[in-house]
Symmetry: C2
Subunit: 428 residues, 2 copies
Amino acid sequence: MSDATVDYRPMWRELGMDLEAHDPLLAAIPQLYADAYLNQKDRPEGMAYFDFVMSEIHGLRIKELQDHRAAGGTVIGTFCVYVPEEIIRALGGLSVGLCAGAEWAYDQVEHLLPRTTCALVKSAMGFKLGRVCPYVESADLVVGETTCDGKKKAYELFGELAPVYVMELPQMKRPQDLELWRGELDRLVAKLEEISGRTLTFEALQRATKEVNDKRRALQRLNAARAATPLPISGKDALLAVQVAFYDDVPRFTQMVNAIAAELEQRVAEGRGVAPASAPRVLVTGSPMSIPNWKVHDLVEKAGGVVVAEELCTGSRYYEKLVAEDATTVEGLLDDIAEKYLDINCACFTPNPGRIDDVLRLAEEHAADGILHYALQFCAPYQIEATSVERAAEKARLPVLRVDTDYSMEDVGQLGTRIEAFLEMLAH
Amino acid sequence: MSDATVDYRPMWRELGMDLEAHDPLLAAIPQLYADAYLNQKDRPEGMAYFDFVMSEIHGLRIKELQDHRAAGGTVIGTFCVYVPEEIIRALGGLSVGLCAGAEWAYDQVEHLLPRTTCALVKSAMGFKLGRVCPYVESADLVVGETTCDGKKKAYELFGELAPVYVMELPQMKRPQDLELWRGELDRLVAKLEEISGRTLTFEALQRATKEVNDKRRALQRLNAARAATPLPISGKDALLAVQVAFYDDVPRFTQMVNAIAAELEQRVAEGRGVAPASAPRVLVTGSPMSIPNWKVHDLVEKAGGVVVAEELCTGSRYYEKLVAEDATTVEGLLDDIAEKYLDINCACFTPNPGRIDDVLRLAEEHAADGILHYALQFCAPYQIEATSVERAAEKARLPVLRVDTDYSMEDVGQLGTRIEAFLEMLAH
């Protein structure tokens, strides 16, 4: 899918990738993408940027990462919204989300991890074992976290395959937890200073904070347009924007997303949509969705519904909260970063009432008719919290469909039938 | 199974239990116990105490708990070795492990928790939903912890059925984690002071520390005898002692276990065992085993092997480490309690090299021929850590059998076959 004029194979070879395995993987993406994305009617023109990004997903962006490293910068791989991109950037790093959205090398993975591990963790391990993810192969360091049992324990084994540093995310949000978490930022700074050979400065951290906030503001603006009826952009396209946010160049991404947002605002003013005003409006909440995991959105939208918001790590949890920008010292900025990140409402916290509030608020803001609770199989935090979300939603008279699934396509038929029935119910 | 002269039904009714469901449950235990325990040849005479305890498991001990409450004391339910019994006792509480060892009311449980939740958590929830555990019905408070995703999130729902207080166990063991954990003890003290109406004193905490240490010392002594060949007590009996330690009266239990230990020391001196000296010696490590979960031990020992040690929460993790007794202030004692508990090597920590060391050390001390890694299905921490345990054991030339199972008896045939093959290999 890469530009015909550029041969990235020498670069991939240099990264130690398994080209024989990577070729068919990369060849499969255009078809997947075309099926899910390119057949959509009346897409915003600005989405052409994401078509390009996807066509260069293992190409141009990887080349940029190599150029960045050649110029003395670092590449830091992450799997989670809790790893502060501001700090990485301020120390000359580029933060990239690692491949974790498709089944790969599960036969090898299941020698290390139980079969009953969630697809996200198995996929991440599979892409590394199979040497087919150029992002992880480009990473000077992978920064993990203790958000769930699966990731926490899998990082121990992942650390034998790649350089891994784990941050301890606390499990509650009290002052003493914020204190522990604030200390984790100091330790991350020390670790990144060590591998980058740089020293954190106020100016660099302030600039990075502003840049990452701008990225979040652009996504907020794009997503605000999804409150409109008819919907000016498909849920799938909006999801893709957040998925790409994890690894794209920050200022360029911000600019492109702002352009799309402007286009959407124009559409809203004109009452122009990608689906009829009568299309049932669904809010999706639950486990993260990594590229190319578009399964649920695709099923909803092909069945005539529209996804109007994602209360996901690849959704509102990624962009809704900003870091305060008025601190005047490094310490002050780090305090604000610690506070903002701990304020994200992941199901790894106990209790986690903030997520319920977020779901209900987003449902209201986006005029959702119903809620699709999506959990990866074996993702205990989201699967168990689904019970509380369902109760709260039903109290608010919002119907809920619970979908527990993985990355395989085996359940697509059955899932599609359930989703169709749910949409039909919402339409009445 | 209760003494024919005592009718406990009025007590159970007063506790709000479902007698119609409880009668058949309680009626099933004697048969289970007889099959696993009473057919064993040449058991230590002291085990008669445990036969009695088991015959009164929902009877006399529950009566004692009610008498204790009537006299102004409290009953505190727990599911985990990290909840400090010293503090509970020092504030007039009796610490009791809650029912979590058998399948019960899973149909109701699966309305709240995913089917893919470990048996321990499902069982605990089922016993509560079904109102058939007199321990939880006697509890003034259940003290939970954040040891795994399953428990952490299930406590949120459990808290709607019973009064629950959750302690945050950190996920690493660095100084800052000890600090957080130390603070958790202060908060637990405050919570228990509130519900008991008492104030923690140095004398009470010192006495409780000594009593609980004495219990651990007795178990250490009993288990030390299991280093001998031939083995003077079955693994099943030794496991039962630790299982009962979670809820029995502390001084009585200590006295009885010391008596058994003395008997075992006599047996060792005489070279008398419960199995031939040639019986393959197995160390069991992994997830906890609650009463009446004797499945793995039963299979090993009925197949001609012996279990010589348990690196389990219902094993060495429960009794190996003592709290220092020389502190002269409440604060000092709490510091020592915090340190001792954080030093337990549960798979919930990352990394957790201490557990590997414990397994290898115990295997050596108890002359184990092989290791049986036992994990409850969907118990991600132990299932994933099994890979590291297996590698370390194999490096030490200790064969490993990995068993992932639950509380059903459906896999007993297949498991038995695998265990027989493993023992046969160890014998050669």
